[in-house]
């Protein structure tokens, strides 16, 4: 537990190691919710989740229950899910359509889609002469300080000051460009299903694991081997077709621990990271060829080659988003407590692409990201073991020393060195950003 009242938390982070309390201390958790998640840009959802006026989704930003709602003016608003009257939450379900207005289930105050007070029952007789009424902004639902959208992906910040969404994302914006550009129509739409999985650990363990190139062949050995066995039998029967989804799984074992050094991580300010490395998504099967044809028609050959040549495995938008753009998968991280974290897992469809291309990434969504996942189960086990181990007195530090001192730094961008893809540079970079955020309050309410 924290002994000092207001400790300088940047002291908990050294260039190659971090104090365990950063993961396990409940007070530090509260402070990071305030200084990080409730300050920076957090992903709310995709515009295609709320196509019609009145469509809404419940979203958690830090500790704040929020609502993303489409207005009659087509604008997507993000509001605090709280009635200004007595504090009741306005919606109690995860999604729906609220019709013309929000109506509180407690005393029937009603609100427009932008949160403005519409009516209070017997308003005139009940409130004439008081400070309460339509002219008082305290009688409307509070809005997120800032809402911005990029290529259909909606973000909100609960601080009125700070970098714009584009400046915040920096180079990690490629997550959304790479995903959308791969659609002949230049747009994606959400597949209307969200898989939600809870892990018993601090949220940072998830963010670190997503771009941890050292762990797949160790953690996911069992599934990689199993898929490889069946893949071999299928190859013998030589029907092809199915092989790719097996290959996605077997790669976890056939790409052995030493080969992951061929990958590279590029680490950016604010803790963002790109893991490069291609998963063999340009095979020469008839489906890919049909897709290439549609893409070339839409973009021309030169631009097409640029688009499908983008070499990305994973993009991490710190602190709460992990995107696998070539497979159109997105995982949003919602911290529930210091030792509990929810991930919301989405899949997107490339508009205008052949059905077979959707099915290819769907296979990955189902096999890797569903609640019957063949992959993440072992990560979840590690997360719990990690958090429990860190809560012990068996040591005070978490080490991020792999290839420390060998990173290549240029203008604030840190790349893992050549053939050092398993460098713990991404973890060092995340913790550097974390320490900077935690040093002082930057949120402006």
């Amino acid at each position: 537990m924290l002994k000092e009242r207001n400790p300088d938390l940047s002291r908990y982070v050294e260039p190659d190691r971090v104090r365990k309390e950063v993961y396990t201390d409940a007070e530090i958790f509260e402070r990071e919710m305030e200084r990080i998640h409730e300050t920076v840009w957090i992903y709310c959802g995709h515009e295609s989740q709320v196509p019609k006026a009145g469509d809404y989704c419940a979203v958690q930003i830090g500790r704040q229950p929020m609502i993303m709602v489409r207005g009659k003016d087509r604008k997507v608003n993000v509001l605090y899910n709280r009635c200004p009257h007595r504090g009741n939450m306005i919606v109690g379900d995860r999604k729906g359509n609220t019709g013309e207005q929000f109506r509180c289930s407690y005393h029937a105050w009603t609100f427009h889609h932008d949160g403005k007070l519409k009516n209070i029952p017997m308003m005139e007789s009940g409130y004439a002469g008081t400070r309460y009424g339509k002219d008082n902004p305290d009688c409307s639902m509070k809005k997120a300080a800032r809402v911005e959208s990029y290529r259909g992906f909606v973000f909100a910040s609960l601080s009125s000051s700070g970098p714009s969404l584009k400046d915040f994302l920096g180079k990690s914006i490629v997550a959304f460009d790479d995903m959308c550009d791969r659609a002949p129509g230049g747009e994606v739409e959400v597949v209307p299903n969200c898989f939600r999985v809870i892990q018993h650990s601090n949220w940072k363990l998830f963010m670190e694991n997503q771009i941890d190139a050292l762990h797949p062949s160790v953690t996911h050995q069992s599934t990689g081997r199993a898929a490889h066995e069946v893949e071999k039998i299928l190859a013998k029967n030589a029907k092809g077709g199915e092989a790719l989804s097996y290959h996605m799984l077997s790669a976890f074992a056939t790409v052995t621990i030493d080969k992951w050094d061929n990958f590279q991580t590029i680490n950016y300010p604010h803790g963002h990271c790109i893991l490069t490395g291609y998963m063999g998504l340009r095979p020469q099967d008839p489906d890919t060829k049909a897709y290439d044809k549609v893409m070339i028609k839409a973009y021309g050959r030169k631009r097409f080659e640029e688009i499908v040549g983008v070499n990305i495995h994973h993009v991490l938008v710190y602190p709460g988003l992990s995107v696998q753009s070539p497979l159109q998968q997105l995982r949003a991280v919602r911290p529930l407590g210091v030792d509990r974290t929810l991930t919301e897992i989405w899949h997107f469809r490339l508009k205008g692409a052949p059905e077979a291309i959707y099915r290819r990434s769907l296979a990955y969504y189902n096999l890797v990201n569903s609640p019957a996942t063949l992959i993440n189960a072992d990560d979840l086990e590690n997360f719990w073991k990690c958090h429990t181990g860190l809560s012990s007195d068996g040591g005070d530090w978490v080490s991020f020393g792999r290839h420390h001192g060998r990173d290549i730094e240029e203008k604030g961008v840190v790349s893992s060195g050549p053939n050092m893809g398993t460098s713990e540079a991404p973890m060092r970079n995340q913790m550097k950003a974390w320490a900077k955020y935690m040093k002082e309050e930057t949120r402006t309410p």
């Binding site: 809870i198 069992s222 199993a226 898929a227 299928l234 799984l249 072992d378 086990e381």
Partner: protein
């Protein structure tokens, strides 16, 4: 009456195979083109081309089996047991050749490490009559908890 008895015995056997971890025996209950499907939502009408919690043919079932049998299936190392109860068995459709469509309800209690979880819902089985009994063409599992957040995940068929 005979068909009702046979179908019930078949479903009991299936849950017994799961609870005794006889994975290969369980897979063998499926026809060569049989599918095990758990949709994320009861409104889904087909397993094909849609998000699915499980949508497995026998090849994928074999991957899952080989994985849980692998010594480094870390998530399966802790104490892990299940107990299925199947009930409310009703034959919805019976063909002259003996094929049947069956609806039933299940309750599975799972113990993992020190935690108990409950999963419940309904099964829909399309069973093909064979010389030795039935083979599963399709098993649809509509889990009451399907849309709930998963506190940890499912590792073996329900």
């Amino acid at each position: 009456m005979k068909a009702q008895y046979d179908v019930e015995q078949f479903l009991y056997k299936q849950s017994e195979l799961l609870d005794t971890k006889n994975w290969q025996g369980w897979i063998d209950l499926f026809a060569p083109d049989g599918i095990y499907w758990m949709p994320p939502d009861a409104s889904y009408e087909t397993w094909d081309g849609q998000p699915a919690i499980f949508a497995e043919d026998k090849n994928l079932m074999t991957v899952r089996m080989l994985r849980v049998l692998h010594p480094d299936a870390w998530s399966q190392r802790p104490l892990w047991e299940t107990n299925h109860v199947v009930s409310n068995v009703s034959i919805l459709k019976a063909s002259k050749n003996g094929d049947v469509e069956v609806r039933s309800r299940f309750h599975m209690m799972e113990l993992r490490r020190d935690d108990v979880r409950h999963f419940a819902g309904s099964y829909f089985h399309k069973l093909k009559k064979t010389k030795s009994g039935y083979a599963i063409k399709l098993q649809r599992v509509d889990m009451t908890n399907a849309q709930a957040a998963y506190d940890y995940v499912l590792q073996v068929w329900v």
